[in-house]
């Protein structure tokens, strides 16, 4: 069964590697702080922001609670407007639709709008295996594609690279003559490279930010306009849309088109908001295919605590505020969905026993929950998934230690004895110099911090003495 791809070592090891890259740390700290502060400004302008969040949460909860009926409504609306709807239970099914459409149009390449759903199903790799070239047209996605790298941020895929690195990459690949690392010159080089691709493309591929069940309308928001090129110039358009992307009614866009741009880029409105419903004669693609992608979502929906994660609108505000993400970057999460939302979404979409290190990749500081535009209680779901991880993988040494501690805490006399024992062990350890090379979790602590000392007199000892 093909599911959301995950790769690399467990989070702690992958993070360690990233933490040792000072350039990456600096790039991330600067970029996330900029977006974070811009978001705070844009959100601060809206007096009714909290009501908007609550409304967004409510609409998403209603949608997820009645998803099968909403999906059928969407299908009817799309078909009525001349589109074709495909149901893709898994990644390979969705990729097959793109392949079929491309072949039917005699295309050997497709132009792509930035899309997480297509990254999730590894569409580019699947198309390449069938001899078809996928051209990323979002500037940051293009940077990742040219560099042979994966995206490290939901919204800003090349956030781990600075402009000097990007200019060097372009010189090696699409723009040998580029002699500047000014943003305008880099963008101009990309424009020249992409313009040709737009003009010859027969098939465009997009994701969807929203799909309106009532009208069959797909909505994509973006900053560059390259997405609109892909959705309007080619003769055929395939949109791959996760089944959780639905909104019941057209009027619901009012809420989400306020929540998303302000949360994502700190803008009042995205520079390009494209909306299309089926096909329109003489305007845009003559053929429109909507692929409704499950790929683990139905299983996530069945998780009563976790299902809330499917309300995510991929704004990435939780990444930019997360003290873990801001230091490790996105690659450490080993998934197209990094950061706090990825730490819950990846294990939910992959299923029990999978990506078990991710729910632990958080200090549960709750900063993510405070900025989430649809009020997903990420810390709560992290704890829930930790419970699931322990219940399915049953870590032996840790489990024994935790059960032992629970037994100690179950009786105050046993607990007081353990305190005295720890104090004695600590004194022996200090005398023998053992404390500098401790085993297991204590070593992890004491690599960068002094170990706390068991007090010469615990509080309960002091209290007992005081009463006498």
């Amino acid at each position: 069964m093909s599911r959301l791809a995950a790769w690399g070592p467990p989070f702690p090891a992958a993070a360690r590697e990233a933490l040792h890259d000072p350039q990456l740390r600096a790039n991330l700290a600067a970029a996330t702080a900029t977006i974070r502060d811009r978001r705070a400004g844009a959100v601060g302008e809206v007096a009714e922001w909290e009501q908007l969040r609550e409304e967004g949460r409510r609409i998403k909860a209603r949608t997820l609670g009645d998803l099968d009926a909403m999906l059928e409504r969407l299908e009817r609306a799309v078909v009525a407007r001349g589109g074709t709807v495909h149901w893709a239970p898994e990644a390979a099914d969705a990729a097959a639709v793109v392949l079929d459409v491309a072949r039917a149009h005699g295309a050997d390449e497709v132009v792509k709008v930035k899309s997480l759903a297509t990254d999730e199903i590894e569409l580019n790799e699947r198309l390449a295996a069938a001899g078809l070239r996928a051209i990323e047209t979002d500037l940051a996605e293009l940077i990742c594609q040219l560099g042979g790298e994966r995206s490290s941020h939901i919204l800003v895929p090349a956030i781990h690279r600075n402009r000097g690195e990007i200019a060097a990459l372009f010189r090696r690949t699409i723009a040998p003559g580029l002699d500047s690392d000014e943003p305008a010159d880099i963008a101009e080089a990309a424009r020249a490279h992409l313009r040709e691709a737009f003009l010859r493309a027969r098939v465009g591929v997009s994701g969807a930010n929203f799909a309106v069940a009532e009208t069959g309308t797909v909505c994509v928001v973006e900053s560059e306009g390259n997405g609109r090129m892909c959705t309007t110039l080619p003769e055929a358009l395939v949109t791959i849309c996760g089944i959780e992307k639905l909104l019941p009614e057209w009027r619901d866009l009012e809420v989400f088109l306020q929540l998303l741009p302000r949360s994502a880029t700190g803008e009042r409105m995205s520079p390009y908001t494209s909306l299309w419903s089926g096909v329109a004669a003489g305007d845009g693609p003559r053929e429109f295919h909507l692929v409704l992608l499950d790929n683990g979502r139905t299983d996530a929906l069945a998780d009563e605590v976790g299902r809330e994660a499917l309300a995510c609108i991929r704004c990435s505000a939780c990444l930019n505020i997360c003290p873990v993400y801001r230091r490790t970057g996105g690659h450490a999460y080993g998934s197209v969905y990094p950061g706090p939302i990825g730490a819950i979404l990846t294990p939910l979409l992959r299923g029990p026993g999978e990506a078990d290190s991710l729910p632990y990749a958080s200090s549960l500081c709750s900063a993510c929950a405070d900025v989430c535009p649809v009020k997903i209680d990420i810390p709560r779901i992290l704890v829930h998934l930790r419970g699931r991880a322990v219940a399915t993988s049953r870590p032996r040494a840790e489990g024994a230690a935790m059960r032992g501690l629970a037994r100690v805490f179950a009786d105050e006399r046993r607990y007081a004895r353990a305190q005295r024992l720890a104090r004695r062990a600590q004194r022996i350890g200090a005398r023998s110099g053992l404390m500098t090379r401790l085993p297991g979790p204590l070593a992890a602590w004491s690599a960068d911090r002094e170990l706390p000392e068991v007090a010469g007199e615990t509080f309960r000892e002091w209290w007992a003495g005081r009463g006498r």
Binding site: S363, M402, W445, D448, F459
Partner: protein
Amino acid sequence: MRIALLVTCLADTVMPQAARATVAVLERLGHEVVFPEAQTCCGQMHLNTGYLPEAAGLARRTAEVFADHEVIVAPSASCVGTIRHQYAQLAEETGDEDLARAAAELAPRVFELSELLVGVLGVTDVGAVMEARVAYHPTCHSLRVLRVGDGPRRLLEAVCGVEVVPFEDEEECCGFGGTFAVKNADTSAAMLADKMDRVRASGADVLCALDASCLMQIGGGLRRRGGGPRTAHLAEILASGPA
């Protein structure tokens, strides 16, 4: 008022001075403090590491030990947060209806120290004296789980001789996070390093917080590096008197 102290296993064992100071402040204000000796741990570590049945046992036990106490105080935002906000989830996850009832009954009676002083007792000036430049680190669970607001800062500003000094990114996590600090030790240490740099740049003599856990993390880091401010729980500053 008769106030029961929920000392927390951490303060009891490694930071008893914070618990003793909590008792001292409340007694100085004329309240009676009692210490239910059967208490051990609220179960936070087990819960946040995913050991839900074990955590539920400790939660039930905590609710039982404090069942007859009308006002309970803890010198820890994260333990109060666990009881007030997470016990309900724990009851739901483990399908324990008795715990759900006990948790709902316990939650409104438990207060973090600054909440009790400012919110319940209506006090901001506790008569403390201390000459120090204090950097106040708002711990994640006090700031975003309990939402204690400006109470701690007002308490500090009312201490004779204390100057509260700001530092960069105050509201960012120190990297402790319970078992996160050992499971993801490198990431935790990277978060800690930035926190220490910022605290030191403030020129503070004392770093203050509401949680023994975060003080253990930041204090442990500062002691390893050498130099920088000393750490003190809010209660310790509030309990200090003229030299």
